[in-house]
Symmetry: C2
Subunit: 367 residues, 2 copies
DNA sequence: ACAGTTTAGCAACGCTGTTGCGTTATAGAC
DNA sequence: GTCTATAACGCAACAGCGTTGCTAAACTGT
């Protein structure tokens, strides 16, 4: 990958994204508060706000009187100015959601998938679900920023190619991003399901969520990583293969070839009906992840986890409280995604929004 | 932390750093190759090169004839244009090195530390070792970019405060960066030892080293993380506490309170004289780390590891080859740091260089 | 000697955020 | 009712970034 030089366009995109980011989490804001939060001069903020108003992303709405002096103009984000469609490709069905610029889910639609579905069968199902979705909740097509796909890896995010989707035949080196863009006629984003999921949390929570992970338990265990204010995918889009970290090195053999993987132990406990043990094991894995990445937020998700939601939250929460070294400054929040079972699909949509209205990427190589 | 807006100064710093980064790894280069590598126009590269020549960081040296046409001017980095001093604070001694802009170690100097040394005793030892170092290898003081400190955590990198250095009394909430700057009269950088170490590898290897970890085995096991082209420290400068990840959840109790930590198992094996087992355990931990972070480079370091260097390299290498899912695109390099026992001190020096001549930081929040 | 090719750099330009300062709208005092 | 202090807004000029257009310079090959 090249390390591109930066020009004025990068600057504009970055500062615009900074303001959009503030706008997402503040119900209303004025010029002064943006200037204070960004360090930009009020005059520079005026120019940014003018650009965003021209694009329709924000709108002025009333004034704020703070005693003496001319009242400040108040701005609000226009949630319905942009939309995105997110797709969660699971093993037996595909789930689509429509979100607005705030990341709110407006509507959803599902389609079953044939066993061992092909790329073509997937795209047929997506096209049909999209039509149903937009019938159910019509929006101006010009305002749809694009369509995001979240699915199981391994895949190559940079080039939009599915390498070898786990437990799916017909899915070796499939250039899905291009196929989908051609078939559906929109800009397409392809990423791992868990990375899409953590993007949903980051987009909705804003700048507080600089470092976080999304733990997904749903036919396997994976983690989506958001590190230093951006999705982290690793050198080969393979980061977060959290289920295949060993927590009992002399334990039972896993399908991946290693012994005592978190996933094999967890699934065995679930199979025996011992969900509390499964949740405790997940807690050990989560604390391992915290020791390694030191993130501030752990978000739990996935159909298999949500089925025993209370058990998992309690086990992971107490693991974090008791097994992370005690220090008042070492704070970690543990929660279940507010998006529930839609988090992956919604996150796929928000990856599209993040690409268009989030900070531009640089490939910032060292020195 | 604020998320600062970006101005023209950021742009300049970023593009300058891009070129310095190329210059570090290319023995000689011309305008065209920089333009191709960065995507900047040749004219923009001319301006950057002129700035860097004016600063003395690079110099023109001869021409390159490529057949017909006017020969291209070739440039070289001036290794001796800048220097930095790096300090590795260990439990019983302090090690200083002097490096140049390329990250080459020019000279070293050590001092013993009293048992349970205080901040003041440390700074006295550093001042004395620095005097010795500069007597041994005199350099223009104006060319010394600063002094970096690498030591055991937990600490607060952003504010330069040692929180609770592990197994050291007198080290609670010590504002060491300010104390050292006042005492030594130079710009000071404070970071965890392992983060300094991985910075050394990144600074010397350049843009190939976008994602890598440095594994250090030296009175404990830790990892320094370099993710996405920058040091990754986590939300509380506590990332990389790799020794306290559990690899045998029903294993023996560790000092940290958890059971079956990598470190407690590893140290027990070493204590029994079973270094091969210790190395195998480290290999399991390294593969766990790879599953989580998917980095392209694993660098081994630390006095306890170097003592049995061949055993560790072989065990970790074969673990990576046999336990990471086989795929031709999933390439990981495993090596021992070429800097040997100086990697932490040298890395602390390179953190200073990276701050001054590496890419400026943004705190790029999402959206 | 000349043509063709490649590199270097001056000058004008568009765009970024910044600075200086005049304009506008309010609350409070007279 | 009028005036003054205050706070926010925004026009205009500006410095500095990379870009574009073009000319000059330095080489090889004919």
């Amino acid at each position: 990958m090249d390390t591109p030089g930066a020009g004025l366009g990068y600057l504009r995109g970055y500062n615009d994204a900074l303001v959009v980011g503030l706008a997402r989490t503040m119900p209303e804001f004025d010029r002064a508060s943006v200037a204070a939060a960004t360090g930009l001069t009020p005059q520079a903020v005026s120019k940014v706000l003018a650009r965003l108003v021209a694009e329709g992303l924000i709108e002025p709405g009333g004034v704020r009187r703070r005693g003496v002096g001319k009242p400040a103009t108040i701005y609000r984000i226009v949630a319905a100015s942009r939309f995105a469609i997110g797709v969660h490709v699971a093993r037996t069905r595909v789930r689509l959601v429509l979100t607005d610029l705030l990341g709110s889910v407006l509507a959803g639609s599902s389609q079953p998938l044939p066993a061992d579905f092909t790329p073509d069968e997937l795209l047929t199902a997506v096209a049909s679900a999209r039509a149903q979705l937009l019938r159910r909740h019509p929006v101006d097509p010009a305002r749809i920023a694009g369509l995001g796909l979240g699915m199981v890896g391994p895949l190559d995010h940079a080039n939009g190619i599915v390498r070898d989707a786990h437990r799916l035949r017909h899915w070796h080196d499939v250039p899905l991003r291009e196929l989908a863009a051609a078939r559906l006629g929109v800009a397409v984003h392809l990423d791992k399901d868990v990375t899409a999921g953590v993007t949903a949390e980051a987009w909705r929570r804003g700048r507080d969520f600089r470092d976080g992970v999304l733990i997904m338990v749903e036919s396997g265990i994976g983690a989506g990583l958001w590190l230093g204010g951006a999705a982290y995918r690793g050198a080969h889009t393979n980061a977060g293969e959290f289920g295949h970290t060993v927590v009992q090195f002399d334990g039972p053999r896993c399908v991946c070839g290693r012994s005592g993987c978190l996933e094999v132990l967890h699934d065995a406990a679930v199979a025996r009906g011992d969900v509390p043990l499964a949740a405790r094991l997940l807690g050990i894995g989560v604390v391992n992840l915290l020791q390694t990445t030191d993130v501030g937020h752990v978000v739990l998700a996935g159909a298999d986890l949500l089925r025993h939601r209370a058990v998992y939250v309690s086990a992971v929460g107490s693991a974090v409280r008791s097994q992370v070294p005690r220090a008042d400054w070492l704070t970690v929040s543990v929660s279940v995604s507010a998006l529930g079972g839609d988090v992956i699909a919604a996150g796929a949509a928000m990856q599209v929004l993040n690409a268009a209205y989030g900070p531009p990427s640089l490939g910032s190589g060292p020195g």
